[in-house]
């Protein structure tokens, strides 16, 4: 079968690899009908995530048709059309039982390595490094899905693939980012970064009752899409973001800030250049420029919600400001299964049609150019989906 394989920084290739097999009794194999490139795949593309290996199959946003189920699978059968969450969850451990699905104890075959690096293991993820289990991803014609009874959700009749695909990651991720803000009536939410997760965070914040959303980016097309989602937009080029946000909120600052950018922030200030230099010589692994601004801008007692991915260490973290203002920081991989049913219902009701995000529709053969476009042509490209035919 065809699969998109990682071969190093800025080097992904479509290769012919063996088709996946059932490896555990609770596995299913899915024939992928639609898959997408995620912003967090760009962290892999840029070589910022450790423990990737040449030949690893990429992709954690995918859906398709069940073609094979293992002996112990009960809820799925051949022919079912499913969306697969990017987090692999056992459904039985303390964390799954408490709804903290992405912290699952039992789905990372490499738990001991993860424990050494981060102190504890997290759920295994599709196509996202050996630290997260080394699972083959879904940018392929077929994918093996462990614990198939737990994660995947069946797609109701009448919904297109491109309407439901983003339930696999970015829609729940944007939604959880907004939910983490604990939005109260009258609240203003600032969303840093208007990529796919930022776009869903904007719309989710309104669904959860925000009075106003202020979206920040420096790319015109993305700001335009944010405006369509109802946000007031700020182009941060040449602007003091913290001053601007204070000015727009009567001097209070936003009630909550969402960092939908993460470890590869493209700032234009002194501290951003400092991070870039430190990262270039390996003194720092992540660039926390947006995180600093979010903490500085947020109102006293507010929340900074971090859906953007961080992987290592940061420098000059303004813990003093966070402490002085009594901020709450909420972060982590998305607990996808928790959100599947409610968000599927919202799509069915027509509250939102997630396909608004798609700018590029390719076949999997063009994956390499898809990665390049998403990485370098951000004015043009917001979301790439690929058909694996």
């Amino acid at each position: 079968m065809k699969a998109v394989c990682w071969h190093g920084t800025h080097d992904v290739r479509v290769e012919n690899v063996p088709e996946p097999k059932i490896l555990n009794h609770q596995d299913a194999v899915v024939k992928v009908t639609l898959t997408a490139i995620c912003g967090s795949d760009l962290h892999l593309y840029d070589g910022c995530i450790p423990t990737m290996e040449k030949g690893d199959i990429l992709g954690h946003e995918f859906m398709g048709e069940v073609v094979e189920v293992g002996r112990d699978v009960r809820n799925l059968k051949k022919g079912d059309r499913v969306v697969v969450p990017f987090t692999i969850c056992c459904g039985r451990c303390f964390y799954c039982q408490k709804g903290m699905w992405s912290l699952c104890d039992n789905t990372n075959p490499n738990a001991a390595l993860c424990e050494k690096v981060y102190g504890s293991t997290s759920a295994g993820l599709f196509g996202y490094s050996h630290l997260y289990g080394g699972f083959a991803g879904g940018q392929a014609q077929y994918a093996r899905v462990p614990f198939a009874d737990v994660g995947p959700i069946k797609v109701p009749e009448g919904l297109r693939d491109d309407q439901v695909l983003f339930l696999s990651d970015i829609f729940p991720t944007g939604y959880m980012a907004a939910e983490n803000c604990n939005i109260q009536p009258g609240d203003t939410i600032a969303v840093f970064g208007c990529g796919p997760v930022g776009q869903f965070a904007i719309r989710s914040a309104y669904m959860l009752g925000a009075e106003r959303v202020i979206a920040l980016d420096h790319i015109g097309a993305r700001l335009e899409l944010a405006r369509k989602g109802g946000a007031d937009v700020v182009d941060f080029s040449g602007v003091d973001v913290v001053d601007k946000l204070k000015e727009l909120t009567g001097g209070r600052g936003p009630d909550a800030c969402i960092d939908a950018v993460g470890m590869e922030a493209h700032g234009m200030t002194i501290d951003a250049l400092y991070d870039r230099a430190r990262q270039a010589v390996r003194l720092e692994t992540d660039r926390p420029h947006v995180l600093r601004q979010a903490i500085q801008a947020c109102r006293k007692g507010g929340t900074v919600s971090i859906p953007g991915v961080y992987g290592g260490f940061i420098d000059k973290f303004p813990i003093g400001a966070a402490f002085a203002k009594g901020l709450t920081l909420k972060m982590g991989q998305t607990h996808v299964p928790k959100y599947l049913q409610p968000l599927m219902e919202r799509i069915q009701r027509g509250d939102i049609d997630p396909s608004f995000l798609i700018t590029h529709r390719l076949t999997i053969d063009d994956a390499a150019s898809g990665y390049r476009t998403f990485r370098y042509d951000q004015e043009e490209c917001i979301k790439v989906v690929m058909q694996p035919s």
Partner: protein, 268 residues
Amino acid sequence: MQVITHRKHAVNITQAEGIASAIGGGLLAAAGLQKRSAAGLALAMIGGDLLRRGITGHSFAYEMIGIRTAPLGQGAETTSVPYELGIRVDRSITIAKPRSEVYRFWRNLSNLPRFMNNVVSVTQNGNQSHWVVEAPRGRTVEWDAVIHNEIENELIAWRSLAGGQVANAGSVIFTDAPGGRGCQVRVELQYNPPAGTLGAVVALLFGKEPGQQIQEDLHRLKKLLETGEVITVEGQSSGRVQCLPYDREVQVASEASFPASDAPAYNP
């Protein structure tokens, strides 16, 4: 919990060896001091340490490589790993299952190879059992063990019997986790590898550090009991010409792919 803060250095050489060591060391020290040179001083220091070794009866070199020539003394017949020898491992894990269920699973020793990766087989015969375990470079080691203390749903304590290839002893302690969170399993294990501690250092070079091995075994036990299977990626597809066994892949990965990139190109 008992915490040992001061390690007592026990006598680990025979009396005859001690006398020889003291006399030889004394002569060497005297000769070295007479030379009044740097080399002489070094000789004197070596002699001094031999003298100390003779008087105290404790050899640090023996301790390091896991040798003991002194008689084992009182209680030796029920001691598998003599004092100051071997390697100690303490690990624990919480399993979201009732204590009795976890205990029962472990007490059926033939279950152990299902989650202990390097254990080939455990054959149970009453209170005694025969163990076959993988050793570095494709060999196996074997020993017989006896469960010498057992409290249902609380404790299993074992020690190996004389004549085995690896002397070991330890206990598994089962307690309730607070707030109905299941069962805490604690493993306390002391073992004396074939060539003493030096052998363990060699094992480290060829395989896993023992604490790490036990930790991974406990993770597998948890997965098995909580989910009914141990999730694996062995045998999955990839764009590699030949898929390596999973364990090896990760060791290769740590060399080749830890923060791998230059900082991404700036995209204004």
